[in-house]
């Protein structure tokens, strides 16, 4: 695998997995805030 392909793959995976993690962290945070209220 070339360096360019490895970098593009790493960027793609980081983007989609990062977005999932960020979304679910925000969901869990807002859910716990709602429970407290």
């Amino acid at each position: 695998m070339t360096t360019a392909a490895a970098l593009f793959m790493a960027a793609s995976w980081t983007f989609v997995l990062g977005l999932v993690v960020w979304c679910f962290r925000r969901v869990l945070k807002s859910e716990s805030a709602r429970v407290k209220h």
Partner: protein
């Protein structure tokens, strides 16, 4: 209503994650120059997919506030014009048509799960032999390995499972299925991806890394090819299950206090993670290890299902515990399929429950009977292109038409400012303002480009029978079946138009006055879904 927010997101993601994530995505990537496709794919995700996801959640929740969980009602709540409800007919015809043939294809995955664990295809170690096995199962091969009743039985069983789930309602059926099915799907897909990515080099020295390299090697020259951009936009469209009426139906059970901005993004990102990380790491890398890059491209080009149903079973037979791996592969396809197909039934059920007051179980099993009868045509006439016609007109072109109508109604008629405000009600995040402009201008322009291009290059030649909907030339003996297939779609459209008219008369709706809005879902509406 939805019992938990995680359950809602899993059900929405289950709706989006379907057979396309594992079968269509790798095929499209391989056929459209890998790296170029992926660049166009991410652009389409940002400009088309995510904005449409928010628009569909917004349309659905807005309709739900008026007690409408079906598209004719949602469109009528956005545009107080007598035509609005009739435009919504596409939101009934498309899910019914796609539900019918999708359940049939889903039944293949259930059958192959069974064949894998029982070693039903063991010994067929060439792609030609496995193709013969698939065609025998489908009843399109002159040399039959399977009894005639086998595909009918698996179709009936798969449909019964679907109807059983939807008959139990949103929280009791669909949400429960998503909470079981999605984790199983994640685990099966992750195990398979690890197995494939750690495979030793194949007979010609190819590795799984060569497959990943093919998908991810950026090739900027390929981006000058319009077909790559259209293929990528099409994949984003299909993978997120937009343009079908299902996301809206699920979102209609939310109130204005509920967030849709973050939940919509969570749904889209979950689907993308499954598609890009898992969907891209199984079929193509495995095919490249055993058949090389050129072999994988040839397989992908030879048919929509050959990679999944022909190549993968050949590969599993070469691996330790291949029966179990085959079970996991087809099992994950089955869960991906059923979590999507139950969603397709939802807007149709909502229409009959809300407008005609029919009990949930009655309408669910009634729908099952209709789908079974319609599905028999697909099972019996698969080789004549009956399914390909529905897949093109309802499951491909129809989705874009639906999205164009929906975007015009929500963004341009209901108003860009109103739509933006509606999406942000109860929101846990603030969507960047740039997306207000993207939703208002870029997404509609993108959609109109796809509609115009496909209309000119695909729809017209297929309509005139210059090319077959499934590709290739139209065989003269297939013409009566193609005509019958289209006639049935037209009859379904006319039937639903009549039912919409009947529903509006029966309930004395005034198109110009609109529906009564409720702060919270009404008791009657809750009775419909829970």
């Amino acid at each position: 209503m939805w019992a938990t927010r995680i359950g809602l997101i899993l059900a929405m993601a289950g709706n989006a994650v379907g057979l396309g994530n594992f079968l269509r995505f790798p095929r499209q990537a391989v056929l459209n120059d890998g790296g170029s496709f992926m660049v166009a794919y991410f652009v389409a995700l940002l400009l088309l997919g995510i904005p449409l996801m928010w628009i569909e959640w917004g349309v659905g929740r807005h309709g739900g506030a008026f007690g409408k969980g079906h598209i004719p009602g949602m469109f009528a709540s956005l545009w107080k014009h007598p035509a609005a409800k009739y435009l919504g007919v596409i939101g009934l015809v498309i899910p019914l048509a796609v539900l019918t043939y999708y359940t049939y294809i889903e039944s293949w995955t259930l059958a192959y799960t069974f064949f894998s664990i029982t070693h039903g295809y063991w010994g067929l170690e060439t792609q030609e032999a496995m193709l013969g096995y698939l065609q025998s199962f489908q009843g399109v091969s002159p040399t039959a390995v399977h009894a005639v009743w086998v595909p009918f039985a698996f179709f009936a069983g798969t449909l019964a499972l679907n109807i059983f789930v939807v008959s139990k309602g949103i929280s009791g059926g669909i949400e429960r299925l998503a909470k079981i099915g999605m984790p199983v799907l994640f685990v099966f897909a992750a195990v398979l991806a690890v197995v494939v990515l750690t495979l030793p080099p194949g007979p010609d020295g190819h590795t799984a890394g060569d497959g990943l390299a093919f998908i991810y090697t950026p090739n900027m020259a390929g981006l000058s090819d319009a077909s790559v951009w259209l293929a990528a936009a099409g994949q984003i469209f299909f993978t997120l299950s937009v343009g079908m009426g299902t996301l809206q139906a699920y979102a209609s059970y939310l109130s204005k206090k509920d967030d849709i901005a973050l939940s919509g993004l969570a749904t889209a990102s979950t689907n993308e993670a499954v598609e890009v990380v898992l969907g891209g790491s199984i079929a193509i890398p495995a095919a490249v290890v055993f058949f090389g890059v050129s072999g994988a491209v040839a397989v992908a080009g030879s048919g929509s299902f050959n990679l999944g149903f022909v190549t993968m079973p050949v590969i599993f037979q070469q691996l330790p515990m291949g029966g179990l791996l085959g079970f996991m592969w087809f099992g994950l396809l089955f869960f991906a399929g059923i979590t999507s197909s139950v969603a397709m039934a939802t807007p149709i059920l909502a229409f009959f429950r809300e407008e005609f007051g029919i009990g949930r179980e009655r309408v669910a099993w009634g729908l099952g009977a209709v789908v079974f009868v319609l599905g028999l045509f697909h099972v019996a006439w698969l080789e004549h292109g009956f399914l390909d016609e529905w897949d093109y007109w309802a499951g491909t072109f129809g989705l874009v038409v639906f999205a164009v109508v929906e975007v015009i109604l929500f963004i341009w008629i209901y108003g860009r400012q109103n739509a933006w405000h509606s999406i942000h009600e109860g929101a846990d995040i603030r969507i960047p303002t740039a997306f207000k402009w993207i939703m208002g201008f870029v997404t509609p322009a993108y959609l109109l480009c796809i509609l115009g291009w496909w209309g000119a290059t695909d729809a017209l030649p297929i309509l005139m029978m210059e090319v077959a909907a499934g590709g290739g030339d139209v065989r003269p003996e297939a013409v009566p079946y193609i005509v019958a297939s289209r006639a049935l779609l037209v009859a379904m459209t006319l039937g639903f138009l009549w039912l919409i008219r009947l529903a509006w008369k029966r309930n004395h709706y005034d198109d110009r006055a609109g529906f009564v809005e409720h702060e919270e879902p009404t008791e009657a509406f809750i009775e419909v879904v829970v």
